[in-house]
Symmetry: C2
Subunit: 512 residues, 2 copies
């Protein structure tokens, strides 16, 4: 009874009016007078309770004096869906006071160390919108500046996992793979069939592209359905050893997605948060053995080997505390991983490797990472995993397994020759002879994006050269593909204006 | 030509559809397909250009598939107003890339020191919505943790001032007063008529209450109109020596208001930002002499004298660099400043002091602060200012001046007896005799708020005792006023359940 809150917060029963807008976050609209009555200012938060369905949600409040009546509450499409409520039904609405976790956010701002309970509460409140984006941003910035202790990292991983659904497989060993800032090439689409062919179980969830030419889910979607339910992921993995699903529609560690949205514009990824984020998603699907690929190179998340080693060590330590065996592998990220950029082109490239028509650095890297998993679970001796992976690839067993998985996921295409090519294409050729000295991956991605990737699946770039390769004037450097002719022209204009592929005259020719 | 952005950003001409919602920030709605075409995801930002009126604005984008057609753009009421655009008109819409200032935000996150130009750009971009609230929160958190240098503080103050309108008075000396976290009492409403009666010019802009029982603008509004234009502030001050206006509708340092909205939930007010914020608003109205009141006490922004002294020193230094003479005064904030809580009650209390019917600690404090201003501008010798202020108050000159100002601002009431009292009232009396040992200001404010303040102007609390005073059982401690009977009952229930006024038996009685 000592708390003013109890006396301040009235609630009202209001009639639902659905506003068919997807806001990307939970928003409700009150008549200005109703908001005042509830003590709510614009941008304050209100709790909406739908008694019938036993569901409640916290929304940000906007106000109006016209489209919503005094006895109504306007809710956006996202809110309607979440509450499973229809037009005309009643919701119980009240203002939301300061969430408990705000104190813990402030503690972190002041440089304090948080307990497991405090971190759990922050994740919970942010998940329920009780902590706003402004407050979450303050928290992540504090973590960026002040860092996490090992225990805080472990607590964050646990909290993220516990806050979402988890998938429990009735088979073992369950393995997983993650790449920190992987850009192109889709090693995942090779590793999954290889380790599944070798008898391991890998329930892989992947993301769609945000800033690159294609995400694993985008590329896999060219071949099969990736919007799978948790039940489908479980049953397909148990039956076929692997799956490649889009993680976005599942509620696996959903707060992690919200945190990533906060971090993205600032490209602030505090090390501890990255580790917690990756391992939480793995824990959500019950993975016990995880290989983490840490590409190192200029312009990447991890710039040098020292930093990479430290990160690898932390991954292993945090994993151990979470009951996982983690191995982190430093890989060369200075060069493109595979020659394709764009959903369809990357999917086709993966199929060509599985079909034995190509073996490049992407294939090599995939076998190495798959090999680590065979060693981690004890199937193969140290140093023998990669050879085993290659055998599974060479023998066609991985291809067979991939087709099995594609079929289980609702097959679209399972042969490289069936992958459609874009209707428009331009070839970019060397103007003079020389040696390829540098390929700028970011610029290749820009070309692909200007050509229409990732929203246009057939658009992208196919590289025809590697660093160190000698070329003659007129040799093909790369091809640009596009669904739309105007975009192809823009992409070409851009490609010619930047040096995406750099030539250097080789020494023997330097006498001119 | 080296920038992919140039190639990525298309723009489209879209027809305006107005959605009559006040969102509290700039939001527009696109059909999902249109958003995709423009490369915009939900929560990304878009620039809207209204060529005819030569106006443009950056909004956050929500998407829909139903209420907005592919060739339309939905805009909320706030956006319509800002662009001065009507239903059916065309806007040129394009996606907005990463703002330049994001790099400077990151620099501050990493502990760097920002140049004047960099701070200016941050303020500019945040003002134009190019920096999101998430990004601004990261910036303020970094400032909270890493601090500002003296030069950064000065640069922030300048940037905030330059980013809004400024008022230039053709009279001098222009003075001002500010209180850091003043809670009740309205010293401003006494200081303004006193210094104006003494021949100084004080164009005071004030805020409405957010967390207290009344803001200065709320209390003044009981007596006169406070929503004045910049022109009115100038002309009234030039003619009558003073004005008390609501600052909210003016565009004085508007970015400061946005920053405060970010800081508020986290109660993070980095010292440098507080100083920049206060002095920017003063510079906007051309003040050259400023007295800053720093109340010190438990639970306040400044807790001890050491901290207060440091803050005072910084105010003076930053002021000097901005060309202002600043004096900061530490005052006792452990006790309520005046006996009234609530708009009408506080307005009435101020009038009673000016009418000579009362002289309490609020009146004393006001005379001291006004006195500092007379000394700062050189009108009175050191130590003589307060006496002069008291003379202006005692002689009725301050009251005469106040009525003049009220009249110029559109008089409503200018006599204490004309201030309306709430229809419902409850008296809270002492249950036993003793001495008043403590008055909890925060709880008094809670009582006033539960009774309906600040939105109901007549609601509030009137204290009848002071700390140290002896009372008998049955003596009146305080009265609660409310416009609404139910709220009065809730406020009474709360008042009785907490110890807002604490009694301690006096020593002579302690033999029982």
């Amino acid at each position: 009874m000592n708390n003013a809150k109890e006396f301040e917060h009235y609630s009202l029963n209001l009639k639902v009016k659905v506003i068919p807008i997807v806001a990307g976050k939970f928003i409700s609209i009150l008549h200005e007078d109703t908001a005042k009555k509830l003590g709510i200012l614009p941008l304050d938060r209100a709790e909406l309770v739908h008694w019938e369905k036993n569901k409640s949600i916290v929304t940000v409040v906007d106000t109006t004096t016209s489209i919503i009546k005094r006895d109504e509450i306007g809710i956006f499409e996202d809110v309607r869906k979440k509450l499973k409520v229809n037009e005309g039904k009643k919701l119980r609405v009240s203002g939301v006071g300061t969430p408990e976790s705000l104190e813990f956010v402030k503690k972190k701002m002041r440089g304090g160390t948080l307990s497991e309970q405090e971190i759990k509460k922050i994740v919970e409140d942010f998940g329920e919108n009780k902590l706003s984006e402004i407050e979450a941003s303050a928290f992540m910035t504090s973590v960026f500046i002040n860092g996490y202790t090992l225990n805080e990292t472990v607590a964050m991983a646990r909290a993220l996992t516990e806050n979402g659904i988890t998938i429990k497989l009735d088979v073992e060993p369950v393995v997983d793979k993650h790449s920190i800032g992987g850009i192109n090439g889709r090693a995942t689409m090779l590793i999954v069939p290889i380790v599944a062919a070798g008898g391991l179980f890998i329930p892989k969830t992947s993301s769609r592209s945000i800033t690159s030419a294609a995400g694993t889910a985008d590329a896999m979607e060219v071949l099969a359905n990736v919007e799978l339910s948790a039940e489908q992921i479980k049953s397909i993995t148990e039956k076929h050893g692997g799956v490649i699903a889009w993680g976005g529609s599942l509620d696996l560690a959903p707060v992690d997605d919200k945190i990533i949205k906060i971090e993205r514009p600032l490209s602030m990824d505090p090390r501890g948060q990255v580790i917690a984020s990756v391992l939480a998603k793995k824990a959500s699907v019950g993975s016990k053995f995880v290989v983490v690929d840490i590409p190192i190179g200029p312009g990447l998340k991890v710039v040098d080997r020292e930093e990479g080693k430290e990160l690898a060590g932390l991954f292993i330590k945090v994993g151990r505390k979470l009951g996982m065996k983690v191995e982190a592998v430093l890989t060369d990220g200075s060069q493109p991983s595979g020659s394709a950029f764009g959903s369809a082109l990357e999917a086709r490239h993966v199929l060509r490797i599985l079909e034995g028509k190509e073996f490049d650095s992407l294939a090599q890297k995939s076998c190495e990472l798959a090999g680590v998993l065979f060693e981690l679970v004890g199937r193969k001796k140290q140093g023998k995993g990669c050879d085993y992976a290659k055998k599974l690839l060479d023998s066609g067993q991985a291809l067979k397994k991939f087709r099995e998985i594609i079929k289980a996921q609702g097959k679209r295409i399972d042969k490289a020759k069936d992958v459609p090519m874009a209707p428009h294409k331009i070839e970019v050729r060397a103007k003079k002879s020389g040696e390829i000295s540098f390929i700028d991956v970011k610029k290749m991605i820009n070309i692909a994006k200007i050509a229409g990737a990732p929203s246009e699946k057939l658009s992208g770039v196919l590289l025809n050269v590697e660093v160190g390769q000698k070329v003659e004037a007129g040799d093909l450097l790369f091809e640009i593909f596009a669904e739309n002719k105007r975009k192809l022209e823009l992409a070409e204009k851009y490609a010619l204006s930047v040096k995406a592929v750099q030539l250097e005259k080789i020494i023997l020719e330097r006498f001119i």
